[in-house]
Amino acid sequence: MSKKAYNEQWIFNREVQDTARRWGKSKLLLPEQVQAIGAAFPSEFYQPHLFIRIALFVFTCLANMTAAGLVFLAVMGIGDYRSGSEEVRILLGCLLCGGGSLLLLETLISANHLYRSGIDNALLYLSVAYLAVALVISYGLLLPLSLEPDDLQEQGLLWPLLAILAAAMLTAIIRYADPLAAVLTLLLYLGIVGTVMLRLPLGKALLPFALMLACAGSYWLVQQLTRRPDYLYYRPAVRTVKFLTLAFFYLAGNYLVVREANALLNGLPYSVQISFAPLFYFFTVAIPLLYLYQGLRRADRIFLYAGLLTLVFSIYTYRFYRSVLPPEWALTLAGTFLILLSGWALRYLRPARHGLTSEPANTPSEFSQLNLESLVMSHVTESTMQVPEPGFQFGGGQSGGGGAEGKY
């Protein structure tokens, strides 16, 4: 059995097809070429439209969970009922359901060529969930303690549990490259760092720095992964982790988060000024700006979105402690500012400047005005040398805003 659940070649072919279609829209390729490329790089994945995937996800979850209900009913009802055997029975039920779902998942992926089609997402999440519960229960059975997180932390036994779960998630990522599993792994990783730090003598004071360092570490790892030859297989997961790493790096250094978390951890009734406050002010201001700069300079949408969101949170942080403007004025002024800024940028960047443009990505740019046909030889056998159709233009585009739905 191969290490990866989905056909890697088809994933690459799908990428080639998408890219060729994009190039076709930018008139870098002739329509015949795009068609020929589609034929030469086939992908047999069953990938329906987003909304059908959502429907498939919902109904698969429903089917699986109701079926699991039957399994649990059977497991709980079989034999005579001794006290103390309840946990073992639940464990058995979880193992049965998890194993069954996993088996079904594997069969369906190979039989129906699923690739993030809703069904496989649902089965993966549910089977991982059953197995994770099974792991937690068996951990509890091995220990003579209750499974309260506080008690475990007291004994220093919380982080091994988190590590076991993280290892399980990591296995799921390696095989299925699922973004949600990657998110959970990242959270578990940060949770392990946090629980270990909190047991150290100076841990509480150094927690923000440790978490920031941990995020820097996972960012470095993400950067390493992008150089792997099978990066494409893991790309959705890697991108999701990259975004969350940026977000958590910021949150770990954000003044509001640090101050409130400090109050929470020390059991204070209200939050007080923290030590190293100026440093956290600096982080709160500088990190969003750094992200935005990186995003625009390196044409990296993940950095750009992280920058925009963290900037909003920084403004919220400031307004949380200092009331500068009444909300109605703040809304009005922010709205005016945004309209003016984006209006100006839309106009200013119309012919691209500084490597940025306000035009949609696939419209024929100046570059494609070059007469590409003259460059195209008769390499493509079926390409009859006809003038390409004037590609359809994106542009204009309607806003779908204000779409409140009347419900009673």
Partner: protein
């Protein structure tokens, strides 16, 4: 990734070396498009500004600056309409995409118009007790603007206004009668309005009158009708006096779901498959348990009903592609 793709395309002689060079240069030098980001910021700005002004006007109602604010809102609204008017395209029943600026100016104008109308009523009791006018007047303006300036956002605002008008003008009357009787009546209106809107959507597609508006009409209309039918179905099961027998409501939901499925296949707007599947499933489940009440032995099958039926829906959706045939996915 670009190099890898180009290399494999070159290996199969699907592109020429010159083309590969041109594409590589293009990928290296193409500018970073901020089109959607800037548009999102713009619409966020429009929403924030109109919300801020809407609060501002009531916060300062007794102060000196109040008149200034009202004048400012009127000015913004007027300027927005004027700008959209100046940038207008000649009217056509087809899509006439306007410039980004005109689109958002119109949206801002319409939002501030709502604030202004509400304020006129609040301060001067402009429309008296004819509350219906308060809603229907802006709605009419929105309808006109949506069609004249070809703006789907304003169209959905108009449809929301229309629904509110129906709701508002009925609720005050029913306040004098008993609430129990009034609510099913509201259901009936909602069902009628929803079905009517969906029909308008279908007609506009069929007659090619602003074909691209059909989606908005059918989505808002069918959702309204389905929600209303669903409440009618569940209320009908424990209330004797209902205008619609629950059984009929369930059948109507199933029928409407089927129609949505047909519509989705025709227009490749797969959100209607999702709507139809969810509501249809609820209705079928309801019918099934109505049946099981007739026969006591039936109840055991309930355990098996859910897994089996959900698997059935999944199989149905999986075979959708075989029924429809493969095509490049588009639509909303």
């Amino acid at each position: 990734m670009t190099e890898k793709i180009l290399a494999s395309l070159r290996a199969l002689h699907l592109i020429s070396a010159e083309q590969a060079d041109v594409i590589a240069t293009h990928e290296r030098e193409k500018p970073f498009s901020l089109y959607y980001e800037l548009r999102t910021l713009l619409s966020l700005g429009v929403t924030l500004l109109s919300a801020g002004l809407g609060l501002l006007i009531y916060q300062n109602i007794d102060t000196l600056g109040h008149g200034v604010i009202v004048a400012l809102i009127a000015l913004i609204s007027g300027a927005g309409f004027a700008y959209a008017h100046r940038q207008r395209q000649p009217f056509s029943w087809r899509a006439t995409p306007a410039s980004t600026g005109a689109d958002y100016a119109l949206l801002l104008a319409c939002l501030t118009l709502l604030t202004l109308v509400g304020y006129l009523q609040y301060q001067y009791n402009f429309f008296g007790s004819r509350y219906g006018l308060l809603v229907i007047l802006p709605t009419l303006v929105f309808f006109y603007c949506a069609y004249r300036f070809d703006h789907r956002g304003v169209l959905s605002m108009a449809l929301t206004g229309l629904a509110a008008w129906v709701g508002v003008s009925i609720a005050p009357v029913s306040a004098y009668t008993a609430n129990n009787y009034a609510l099913p009546h509201l259901d009936a209106v909602a069902i009628a309005l929803g079905l009517g809107l969906a029909a308008v959507g279908l007609a506009s597609e069929h007659q090619d009158r602003k074909k691209h508006f059909g989606y908005t009409y059918v989505l808002l209309g069918s959702n309204l009708a389905l929600v209303a039918l669903l409440t009618a179905m569940f209320r009908g099961s424990y209330e004797a006096a209902s205008f619609l027998p629950p059984l009929l409501a369930a059948l109507l939901i199933i029928g409407l779901s089927g129609a949505l499925y047909w519509y989705a296949r025709r227009t490749h707007s797969y959100i209607f498959v999702l709507l139809g599947a969810l509501y249809g499933y609820i209705a079928v489940t309801y019918l099934y348990f109505q049946l099981s009440e007739l026969n006591r032995d039936f109840e055991v099958t309930a355990f098996l009903y859910f897994p089996a039926s959900a698997v059935g829906v999944v199989l149905l959706l999986l075979n959708l592609k075989k029924i429809v045939g493969s095509h490049e996915q588009k639509g909303i």
